[in-house]
């Protein structure tokens, strides 16, 4: 037991050190690294309800987009009239001072985390009563409806988009912007990992698994499944909102359907990454997200224009041929590593039966 703990300690401290020095080592790729952190957060929290709870949501993009709009709106609205800001579009009639910028984004991220979680809690009772594919389609509809509706609301820029406050010009260091967003996303990633890791060791995860495996039986055992489902969804929404807030600041421009409620990209990515790595495992989504990001960044530029075709084919191939994901495949291959004991005799008799 002691040995395992020590091994974990080395692994985690190694990863944290890697995370801290990465922006200095790969200075040119800070934006990509920030993306990676955000993608991992999204995949990990999607996995909590998609993989652990068995509620495959296409609609977590709702919370992502909500977080993005909330962060930007709070950041602007705290100091300037929001309507005039969006109306002026790219024109910089109002300029945030350094202190205002960081205060704004701090409060904004806080709001962006809490409000989506509350929204998830509010609609959870109605939506999570749906099962299986009805839940999937319903959340798909929610995500797209949110994008369409946001595209019609004037105060957040409607169809022409919303420019988020630019990084304060008083900071002369050209690296500062990239570093700021990287470290913010890295902190969120670490927080999310600690939280998810904690959940993986708790009774809560067992309840989620019971819901996934057989909800009726879980209910019959006296578990108030609805309560746990809602909490599980709220956790996802909390981190999706945070991730969205960071991405809004990083991209610098929010469009209702192409950036915020981007079901065609982010909304699919988070599902795909979790499945690629392996649903229902702690490390699966992390590995899946990393692999996917490298694949995407490596190939996207070579197949310019064809990237969506490649994405679609990738989805089909992964879903049909690797529904268990990378971790599931490894588990099949090396069950001992996952703490599964195989009775040699029993296995042999099974083989003979076949």
């Amino acid at each position: 037991m002691e040995k395992v703990k020590q091994k974990d300690l080395i692994l985690y401290s190694g990863l944290i050190i890697l995370g801290l020095v990465a922006p200095y080592l790969f200075s040119a790729f800070k934006v990509q690294l920030t993306y990676l952190c955000v993608l991992i957060v999204l995949a990990m929290t999607w996995n909590l309800q998609g993989g652990e709870m068995g509620y495959n949501s296409f609609g977590n993009i709702l919370f992502y987009g909500l977080g993005m709009y909330l962060t930007a709106s709070v950041q602007v609205g705290m100091f300037f009239p929001l309507a005039e800001w969006t109306e002026s579009g790219g024109e910089k009639t109002f300029v945030h001072t350094t202190a205002q910028y960081f205060q704004g984004i701090g409060v904004g991220l806080l709001v962006a985390a809490i409000v989506p979680a509350l929204v998830a809690g509010a609609i959870g009772y109605a939506i999570l009563g749906l099962r299986g594919h009805y839940f999937a389609i319903c959340t798909l509809g929610l995500g797209i409806a949110a994008g369409e509706i946001a595209g019609g609301i004037e105060i957040i820029g409607a169809g022409q988009g919303f420019t988020t406050p630019p990084f304060p010009a008083e900071i002369v260091d050209p690296e500062a912007r990239g570093k700021f967003f990287y470290f913010t996303s890295f902190i969120v990633l670490v927080l999310a990992f600690i939280f998810v890791k904690y959940i993986y060791g708790s009774r809560f995860r067992l309840i989620l698994n019971a819901i996934r495996d057989n909800e009726d039986k879980a209910e019959a055992m006296g578990i108030q499944t609805m309560k746990y489902k809602i909490v599980g969804w709220m956790v996802s929404a909390f981190f999706c909102g945070l991730a969205g807030g960071i991405m809004g600041g990083l991209i610098g421009y929010i469009d209702s359907t192409d950036v915020a409620f981007d079901g065609r990209e982010m909304g699919v990515f988070m599902v795909l990454m979790a499945i690629l790595g392996g649903k229902g495992t702690l490390w699966g989504p992390i590995i899946g997200a990393t692999l996917f990001h490298f694949f995407k960044e490596g190939l996207w530029t070579f197949i310019l224009g064809w990237q969506y075709v490649a994405l679609g084919v990738l989805i089909v191939v992964i879903v049909i041929y690797f529904p268990e994901g990378l971790m599931g495949w490894l588990r099949e291959k090396y069950p001992e590593r996952f703490g599964e004991v195989i009775d040699e005799k029993d296995r042999k008799s099974q083989v003979e039966l076949k």
Partner: protein, 297 residues
């Protein structure tokens, strides 16, 4: 209520007629959806993209100088083979599996289709001119494009033909038998693999007809497929599988809802309203069923 539509009663008539004619078209797509859902137990997210592809076939004919109305005959034939090929390539691997896998796999197909259509036909909004003129009703206060009336009649004709075909023909009986119990049908000598391929082909052909009609009545764009998928999904869950009159009625209901939402909320919220309606219908059914301690399955 300070809406234009309540001040001018003629607008109501206009919206209702538009909605009903449009709804018949939606019902045709939904019938294809119900067919494949009932027979193969898959939900096809690429349904709307098949519709748009069918529309682009008619549009290509229009560009080539042929009247686009011929698309209602050419497009289903071509689309049958597209559907058949799609089944052989991908769908046959998801038939017996979890519904979520079919949703995600067809979602991938939808993305591929959208992008390929974007490459081939360009990202512009296009429409094929049928030049059928318009009918003026009620003292010229209600205008009704003849193409919409044409599309409603064609949809009805095809729907009736399909119902008769499903009742009388050998393949139709095989499809219905497979829908009832695939295993029993197999034992009694039905080649279910063939039936599945044919079902998916017929579904794609229906999408082709609907697409050809959409190309002359509405507009085409590579990325507008998903709303058609959602509309047909909605119609199917309201009407149930294999209940054709109910499919037609709920299709018209959806058409009416959309036209009125268009007038009352504004055109920019039209698609949003469709998706919100989906959410409301699902949530409503969830609460209705939970009274009896049942759930949507």
């Amino acid at each position: 209520m300070d809406f234009l539509i309540f001040k001018a009663p003629m607008l109501m008539v206009q919206a209702s007629l538009d909605g009903i004619l449009l709804g018949i078209l939606f019902a045709l797509i939904a019938y294809g959806m119900a067919l494949q859902w009932g027979v193969m137990n898959i939900i096809n997210i690429a349904q709307g993209d098949l519709v748009i592809l069918g529309g682009y076939i008619a549009y290509t004919m229009y560009i080539a100088g042929i009247h686009p109305a011929w698309g209602v005959i050419v497009s289903p034939i071509l689309m049958y083979f597209v559907g058949w090929g799609l089944y052989k390539l991908v769908i046959n691997k998801v038939v017996d599996r979890d519904l979520f896998i079919s949703i995600l796999a067809t979602f991938g197909i939808a993305i591929v289709f959208q992008q390929l259509m974007n490459f081939i036909f360009g990202a512009d909004v296009v429409v094929a001119q049928s030049e059928y003129g318009t009918t003026m009703l009620f003292d010229n206060s209600v205008t009704l494009p003849n193409s919409k009336i044409f599309s409603a009649f064609v949809s009805l004709a095809y729907a009736v033909a399909l119902v008769i075909y499903m009742k009388k023909s050998k393949l139709g009986r095989a499809i219905r038998a497979t829908a009832q119990n695939a295993r029993a049908a197999k034992i009694l000598g039905v080649d279910t693999e063939k039936v599945y391929a044919a079902t998916f082909g017929i579904n794609a052909a229906l999408c082709g007809i609907a697409g050809a009609l959409i190309s002359i009545t509405l507009t085409l764009h590579p990325y507008v497929g998903l709303p058609y998928t959602v509309r047909s999904f909605m119609i199917v869950i309201v009407a149930g599988l294999g209940n054709l009159p109910a499919v037609a009625i709920s299709g018209m209901g959806l058409g009416l809802f959309e036209e009125f939402a268009d007038y009352i909320l504004g055109t920019e919220f039209r698609i949003g309203a469709v998706f919100m309606l989906l959410v409301f219908i699902l949530v409503y059914r969830r609460f209705k069923l939970s009274k009896k301690r049942e759930y949507l399955k």
